[in-house]
């Protein structure tokens, strides 16, 4: 199990555990983390699972695909250098303790 820390816009931290191989989106939904809508269920069709990954963890992630990169141009909250769609991030051991921030709005 891998620990994931979601930080809400009001700075409250929500800590959840996730199975290796699941997506961060899946972990958020399974634990009722508010602010991750994930309407399309991980099909990269909605951009409602937008997160900001804490800088220190960014280098541990595979870079976004061209499709994800384009989706990130159209998120409801502003795109930043550390923006990602969490449906595209697979939970692995090396992400244990990863901290991600939830944007103000997803739609």
């Amino acid at each position: 199990m891998t620990k994931i820390v979601f930080i809400r816009p009001d700075s409250e931290a929500v800590e959840v555990t996730a199975k290796v191989g699941d997506s961060i989106m899946h972990a958020a939904l399974a634990n009722q983390v508010p602010g991750i809508l994930a309407e399309c269920g991980g099909s990269m069709a909605c951009a409602t699972c937008h997160i900001y990954v804490d800088e220190e963890w960014l280098s541990k992630l595979n870079p976004p695909s061209s499709m994800e990169n384009e989706m990130l141009d159209a998120t409801a909250s502003e795109r930043r250098d550390n923006s990602r769609l969490c449906c595209q991030i697979e939970v692995s051991d090396r992400l244990d303790g990863i901290r991600v921030r939830i944007p103000e709005s997803q739609i």
Binding site: A30, Q32, C40, S43, A74
Partner: protein
């Protein structure tokens, strides 16, 4: 027992209603009645990742069992509501059990339209709607060589792309003159067809089905209206869906190929709402009563009805959007583009990245995009503007959705151009 919110149907719409009620702070009883054995799950991956073996069953569940318990959502699986006792405000279940409601939400969904030809009842003539269907289909595809898909709509084509990728011979037979004729413009459909053909999928358009041929109850082929016989050991039927509105009709609620609701998603009984695939609602984007079969519609109507039950009564006017993943093609639609009289293609058709802007009488209907997901997202925002731009405005902005969104709200494009 204290009557609370009772939701009939545990698909996307019913699930969303239950969770939105709890997220919105509703504390009374919430009962979610499903006629399948499993926890509520996502259907879109059934014809895509699940069939391909890229997603397992547990990953399709919207939420784990523990969360239903924690939120005190009383989920009743494998249960059939047989009647609505409107006089005493109760759902009557198969076993004679009654469940009283303060308000009821009907989210019974739709079911595949059945093929009505000789041989259509054979075991290897299959449909795809439920996870049980998908599990069975996956097993059948593993043993099949020659698959005939009847119907060139989203489901049939998504299935065709997966089956072809798994190495099966796939022939799609369609009664209409082109694929996805109901939902997609000719330029986008032509591109998707070329992609399918490049993978080796074969097509017969304007072709009807005469019969499914068999020997000893085993499917051997499909006899077509033009006299040809296509060899087949598996036939997959995707010819549309019909609303599950019998329960509502028998209870005396107004129906017409779906349960009729107003713009607050209320049926002709103010204590009963209907949402999702089974409901015909007045849609501002279609400018007509319409029944939409989509994740967006199911989820947004579930949220809308929950918000209304919690006291936030706004008319339903969510922007419709759709998607279909076929091989490497991501097709997305924002808005209801049916009935367009003018379309403008932007981007590169050769490179497989383009968008089709659709208009009727100069009014913007929506955008279909191929492998340009940000166009879909931006088009949805443009459609949600209080005063959506017209064809004239689009021309002034050279069809840049971004420029339109960046334009100050109260300025018209001509103001913008003058000041620029």
């Amino acid at each position: 027992m204290c009557a609370g919110m009772v939701i009939v149907g545990a698909g996307q719409a019913g699930f969303q209603t239950a969770f939105s009620l709890r997220e919105g702070g509703f504390r009374g009883p919430v009962t979610l009645i499903g006629n399948e054995k499993r926890l509520p799950y996502q259907r879109p991956p059934l014809s895509k990742a699940f069939l391909h073996g890229l997603a397992d069953e547990a990953s399709l569940h919207f939420r784990p069992q523990t969360l239903f318990e924690k939120l005190e959502i009383d989920f009743l699986p494998d249960a059939e509501v047989t009647a609505i006792d409107r006089a005493s405000c109760a759902m009557v279940c198969g076993a004679g059990q009654t469940i009283p409601y303060e308000h009821a939400v009907i989210a019974t969904g739709s079911r595949p339209r059945r093929l009505l030809v000789e041989g259509a009842g054979l075991g290897h003539v299959v449909y795809l709607r439920t996870i049980e269907d998908a599990i069975g289909l996956k097993e059948k595809v593993a043993r099949a060589n020659d698959i005939v898909v009847i119907g060139a709509g989203f489901i049939g084509l998504e299935f065709a792309s997966v089956a072809r990728k798994l190495g099966r011979n796939v022939h799609v037979v369609e009664a209409g003159s082109r694929m996805m004729a109901r939902a997609v413009t000719p330029p986008a459909a032509a591109f998707v067809q070329r992609r399918h053909e490049s993978w080796g999928v074969e097509f017969s358009f304007e072709t009807t089905i005469e019969a499914i041929k068999s020997r000893d109850h085993v499917v051997t082929g499909v006899r077509l209206g033009d006299g040809r016989v296509l060899k087949a050991d598996l036939v997959v039927v995707g010819i549309g869906a019909v609303a599950n509105c019998e329960l509502a009709a028998e209870a005396g609620l107004a129906t017409d190929c779906g349960i009729l609701v107003d713009d607050h998603l209320l049926t002709s009984d103010p204590r009963i709402s209907a949402i999702g695939d089974c409901a015909v609602h007045p849609n501002v984007f279609a400018r007509a009563p319409i029944r939409l079969e989509s994740v967006q519609n199911a989820a947004d109507q579930g949220r809308a009805v929950a918000a209304r039950l919690l006291g936030e009564a706004l008319p339903y006017r969510a922007v419709p959007w759709f998607w279909s993943d076929q091989g490497d093609v991501k097709l997305q639609i924002a808005g209801i583009t049916t009935g367009h009289d003018h379309c403008v293609v932007r981007g590169s058709v050769e490179d497989g990245r383009f968008a089709v802007f659709c208009f009727a009488n100069g009014r913007f209907l929506g955008v279909e995009s191929i492998n340009r997901p940000s166009d879909n997202m931006m088009a949805r925002r443009v459609l949600a503007l209080p005063q959506p731009p017209t064809l004239h405005d689009f021309e002034a902005f050279d069809f840049s959705l971004k420029a339109i969104l960046d334009c100050p709200r109260d300025a018209t494009p001509s103001d913008f151009l003058v000041s620029a």
